[in-house]
């Protein structure tokens, strides 16, 4: 029997048929909200309100809906805000967390255990619980309703410190000693040796950080009220309440544009995303 015939046999065994049938069915169900969203985003109002199961519209209205979505609401502004906030948060988190993780992993100093305890407490605390005092803190230093308000609670990430510490700890001490003999300062060791070697951890953390902050609605809702400062999650909510659910087409087009960047990135780097997000969610 040729290998192809063998493979066809395996593919058609009852167990395999069962496996593919169930997985295709659940997969299809999972995709329904995405497909329906895209479908509505290319339909004219008349077709949206006419009940039908068809995915593809009789009259293609995508151009009108997407144009309306990016011109009627400041959607490009929201998306730009989202990119900027996520980039700023990630940059600050790396800058603050990596040196601390290196100190915890490779240096001996009084208070190291206390500091690590502090990190573990930070890991344990859900951010929503801290929102009220953080709101007051933001008010006291006068940064509410600015970009700084969206960023400051996330400057340090206990998860980032924890993850990098694990990774740095697994690197041999000889590397550090050799670097010191070469005359590298401790700061240089962090950025020139530790962080580049820990690239998998950096990528996993970056994905976790970007996805969580791109998707976060809770804190932006509290921190800003100017439309020009809003990230996409908050902006689309405002767009929805302004449209009051009557103009579905542009609303769905806007929703598609908000979801799209992460989906595209996910499909391009699936394995990294799953690892990063699963690790981040377990902690």
């Amino acid at each position: 029997m040729s290998t192809r015939a063998l493979r066809a046999c395996q593919l058609l065994s009852p167990a395999a048929v069962f496996r593919h049938t169930v997985l295709l069915a659940t997969g299809a169900l999972i995709l329904v909200p995405f497909v329906w969203m895209v479908s509505l985003s290319i339909k004219p109002p008349g077709e949206i309100f006419r009940t039908s199961f068809s995915f593809w519209p009789v009259q293609f209205y995508g151009v009108e809906n997407y144009t309306k979505a990016v011109t009627q609401a400041p959607l490009p502004r929201y998306l730009g805000n989202g990119v900027m906030i996520c980039a700023l948060i990630l940059a600050l988190q790396m800058l603050v967390c990596a040196p601390c993780a290196y100190a915890l992993a490779k240096l001996r100093f009084a208070g190291r255990d206390t500091l690590f305890g502090l990190v573990l407490i930070g890991l344990l605390l859900p951010h929503q619980v801290l929102s009220l005092p953080l709101f007051i803190l933001g008010y006291q230093i006068g940064i509410l309703n600015t970009y700084a308000a969206l960023v400051f609670p996330y400057v340090v990430s206990p998860f980032g410190i924890f993850l990098f510490r694990q990774f740095f700890k697994s690197m041999p001490d000889d590397v550090v000693h050799a670097a010191r003999l070469d005359g590298l300062s401790e700061t240089a060791i962090v950025w020139k040796i530790m962080v580049p070697t820990a690239l998998p951890a950096v990528i996993a953390f970056a994905i976790f950080s970007i996805v969580s902050h791109w998707n976060d609605l809770f804190w932006p809702l509290i921190a800003v009220h100017d439309q020009s400062l809003m990230p996409p999650t908050l902006g689309i909510m405002v767009f929805k309440s302004e449209e009051a659910g009557t103009d579905y087409g542009p609303l769905m087009a806007a929703a598609t544009l908000v979801v799209l960047p992460l989906i595209v990135a996910f499909l391009a780097a699936q394995r990294w995303f799953i690892e990063g997000l699963a690790e981040g969610a377990i902690k």
């Binding site: 995709l31 009220l132 999650t233 979801v259 996910f266 995303f273």
Partner: protein
Amino acid sequence: MREPRASTDACHELSSRDGASTFRCPAASKALGRGLREALAAWILAGPSVFFLLMLYCLPVIGVFVIAFTNWQFGAATLSFVGLANFREVIADEDFRSSLRNTAIYLLIVVPGTVSLGLLIALLIEGGKSCRSFYRAIHFLPFMATMSAMAIAWEALLHPTIGLVNQTLSAIGMPAANWLRDEHTVLLALAAIGIWQNLGFAMVLFLAGLKSIPKDIYDAADVDGADLWLDRLRTVTLPMLGPVSMFVVIVVALRVFASFDTVKVLTQGGPGHASEMLLYTLYRESFEYLRAGYGAAIAVVFLAIVVTLTLVQAHLMDRKVHYQ
């Protein structure tokens, strides 16, 4: 006479100590110096983290407790200690109790639904060789999709007249419902969205668990005559997944417990208080009604539940290590 002698003694002692130290000290002081330098470098490197951990985590968590145990209001200059008064008010409040009840019901639907579906899908994916990453990707998609935007898509799906759900139901002769505006169905609808969002996460955790089952146990089961897939599932896979499953239940429960986006975007806790959930109540009382003490008391209750679940999770993780 005595004094000089004493001083010569002292001198002698000093010089002998000095001699000893010249004999031994360069290394010691160098080591001490290196230790100090290392500690100094460590504190400089960790300094920003220490500062921000204290400012953004420790101070706020103390703040929450202080606010919860006092009568402080937003903008007030003074505060006084009121003991458990805020907690008494919270517990006596019918709205809070219904919020707690709704959260419990929501958890009791979403967690078992998510975990069992996640397990089923993981078993099926791992059960064959083809299309693994394709199926994994599809099922994981909702976990990372922006929920506030996807909630809008769900609203369209659940729309009473033009929604796909009701169209399908009426096409097969089932009664339709106004899912998000009916107090009897709203929690169910939100729970369905919750399962949709999280089952890919449970699936990934189970896939990792399945990979960690040693192959020789399956071989042993083969020798013992467990050659059918179902036999192997019953005798090896499920028992071996026991500890992992408990862990998945807790981790998923922690995520589901913090559900907020769907409530905020789709129902605002309504109709009535039928879909009011803990985190949404916390948000509304603290930031819409600006009842700081009340909101902080809810935050403390929320924190207590999360910490309990996390400690159980940590305990399970320790046990898992022992199993291996």
